[in-house]
């Protein structure tokens, strides 16, 4: 998998993506200057708190945000060289579900309650691969077996409410993988599930990824999931990238104070005595009242007066490692 990250041209290349929302109080910027590359077989983890812009990033990759209230202000989303931002609605319909698929957070509401799961899995097969009803049905049986649904043929006639949460997420994954997409976006795929099911679904995703050689974008707020699953990590805060690096680098030497704070707030494993779990003080700023300078400065223990004025640019701080912090070199010296 590491080889994939080093070789070849990127499958998906996002450049300086900025997304704005139209609200009654005016335009707000939900995502500002996100860039990353993704190669076949590679997994990119996007991490951040609620409101950091990670789901908005995911939705804009497939242009699924409502055009009436959102606007992609800047940037490029190149899928094998084609810019998705410039694609027409009918071109988008051909890309969605065939080249790029998405799995949403909540399997309870991701499936249509009044249609059988067989019907819902067959839809993309019939649409994109032009399979006949019978062919699509056979493929759906294979897919359901592939994602570990017991007695797949009988399950075709089931309705979503007859399945458990974990099974529904398996169905959603089967649906997303139906046309063997090149890129799978998983937006908090396990957040709504219980812990044992979470592990099963992640194992399943990993297994399917290596079988199908897909690129995966895993959106999560759980650094543990990222550590286990991702090759690269992109950390977002208040709509901006604050750090991006290979996963081992990030856990060994996180540079941005926000990332360090996130890592410190993971409960330690084992029976270590811990007085209190460290947390990052304060909350994510409201998009209507963004702090000046570095958006993280009100919560940052290292903030200096310069942090209140300049928005830090992403700067290289190691191989494939960038961070957006004005004091990154000073802090490095401090820790050394």
């Amino acid at each position: 998998m590491l080889m994939g990250t080093l070789r070849g041209t990127p499958l998906l290349s996002v450049r300086d993506l900025s997304v704005q929302f139209r609200t009654d109080q005016g335009l707000i910027t939900a995502v500002d200057g996100v860039s990353f590359d993704l190669r076949a077989g590679q997994t990119l983890g996007i991490v951040g708190e609620s409101g950091s812009g990670k789901s908005v990033t995911a939705m804009s990759l497939l242009r699924l945000l409502p055009p009436a209230t959102t606007r992609i202000a800047r940037g490029e989303i190149l899928l094998e060289g084609r810019d998705i931002i410039k694609a027409s609605e009918s071109e988008l319909e051909r890309i969605r579900g065939r080249d790029v698929s998405i799995v949403f957070q909540d399997p309870m509401s991701s499936l249509n309650p009044v249609l059988t799961i067989g019907r819902q899995i067959c839809e993309p097969l019939r649409l994109h691969l032009k399979l006949s009803r019978a062919e699509a049905k056979e493929r759906a049986v294979d897919l359901l077996g592939f994602v570990g649904i017991p007695s797949p043929r009988e399950s075709l006639g089931s309705y979503p409410h007859q399945l458990s949460g974990g099974q529904r997420q398996r169905v959603v994954i089967a649906m997303a993988l139906a046309c063997r997409p090149k890129v799978l976006i998983a937006d908090e795929p396990t957040t709504a599930l219980d812990v044992t099911t979470q592990a099963q679904i992640l194992d399943l995703l990993r297994e399917l990824q290596s079988k199908l050689h897909m690129a995966v974008i895993l959106i999560t707020h759980d650094l543990g999931v990222v550590a286990e699953f991702a090759d690269d990590v992109l950390v977002m805060y208040a709509g901006r990238m604050v750090e991006k690096s290979p996963v081992s680098q990030l856990f060994a030497r996180a540079r941005h104070p926000y990332t360090q704070g996130l890592l410190n707030s993971i409960p330690p494993f084992g029976d270590q005595e811990l007085e209190k779990l460290p947390a990052i003080n304060g909350t994510v700023p409201s998009p209507f009242a963004m702090p000046s300078g570095c958006a993280f400065h009100p919560r940052c223990t290292f903030a200096s007066s310069a942090c209140l004025e300049a928005v830090p640019e992403l700067a290289s701080c190691g191989p494939n490692h960038v961070a957006a912090c004005l004091r990154v070199t000073e802090l490095e010296r401090m820790h050394a």
Binding site: S109, S110, N112, V114, P124
Partner: protein, 304 residues
């Protein structure tokens, strides 16, 4: 499902009992039929005969029980205006009313669904503004006035359609339009709201992410989900529609239950009034039963 139907059916006689009781008492306490059916020159013998025939000399509750005893045997009594059995007049009127009701229902549901979908898709834009304004105008327009306007325009001015009466399909058009207007504006607005609500559902985003086109999502994902709230709305509106048919039938001289009921009430023909109310109640109970069955056909969560 079968249990629900059985449950409903066991409740039906109770509903009918209550309806007949209330109607019977109201009819009896608001006037003595003898005073209406026998003129000034009546003889005491005539009065005595009618009083005995209608059991008017007995206490009210006993009168009701006698009525109930006959009712169970299928005897609704004799019509005071027509002379024959009350039920005969009602049965000949039920056909035209059902024809009118189903035509109006069909019009309101199809037009209302289409208009509601269009309004939802073009939310806050021109087509929505026009349709929603029309709906509000329709809601505030009494059906007797709309009926008269339609007669003036299509029957008197254009002379395309007959003003009133019954016969072929031509006679059905104006009454059906008038009656459908009772339901159409609300049905359109309910459709619009239901569709707009569903558009924000996660499964719609999933369907879009699969690459389905908007129109396809609307027809195959949203509409089947909207069917349930719409059906519930129809269930509630059946009574309103029945009430609307009384007015419509009177305007257009449509030979249905509504017109029969009006003439029976104004002539104090108690047996006919009772029989019509009874039949209308049965129709409403059955219609709600059909709504329940359709609910379970549409929504697997109710079925299982």
């Amino acid at each position: 499902m079968l249990r629900t139907i059985a449950h409903r059916l066991t409740l039906a006689p109770l509903t009918l009992l209550l309806v007949s009781f209330v109607t019977f008492i109201i009819l009896r306490v608001t006037g003595n039929p003898v005073d209406i059916y026998l003129d000034i020159n009546r003889t005491p013998e005539q009065v005595a005969a009618l009083t005995e025939r209608l059991h008017l000399d007995k206490p009210l509750l006993v009168q009701y029980l006698i009525y109930l005893r006959d009712l169970v045997q299928g005897d609704f009594g004799q019509s005071l205006q027509y002379g024959g059995p009350a039920i005969d007049a009602v049965i000949t009127s039920i056909g035209p009313t059902l024809r009118l009701l189903s035509a109006a229902l069909l019009l309101a549901v199809t037009l209302g669904t289409v208009a509601g979908l269009v309004a939802a898709v073009y939310r806050d834009r021109f087509p929505d503004a026009v349709l929603s304004a029309l709906a509000v105008a329709g809601q505030s327009m009494p059906s007797f006035w709309l009926g008269i306007l339609l007669i003036q325009l299509f029957a008197l001015k254009m002379q395309w359609l007959p003003t009133s009466g019954s016969g072929g399909f031509k006679y059905l058009i104006l009454p059906a339009l008038t009656l459908s207007a009772v339901l159409l504006p609300n049905f359109m607005l309910v459709t619009r709201t239901a569709v707009l609500d569903l558009m924000n559902e996660q499964f719609v985003a999933t369907a879009r992410a699969k690459g389905l086109s908007r129109i396809r999502i609307l027809l195959t994902h949203i509409l089947p989900n909207a069917a349930n709230p719409l059906l519930s709305f129809l269930g509630i509106q059946i009574g309103t529609l029945m009430g609307g048919s009384i007015i419509t039938e009177s305007i257009f001289g449509w030979p249905g239950i509504g017109r029969l009921m009006i003439s029976a009430v104004s002539n104090r023909d108690a047996p006919v009034v009772l029989a019509t109310v009874f039949l209308v109640s049965i129709t409403i109970i059955l219609a709600n039963l059909v709504v329940d069955v359709l609910h379970s056909i549409i929504d697997p969560r109710i079925r299982h």
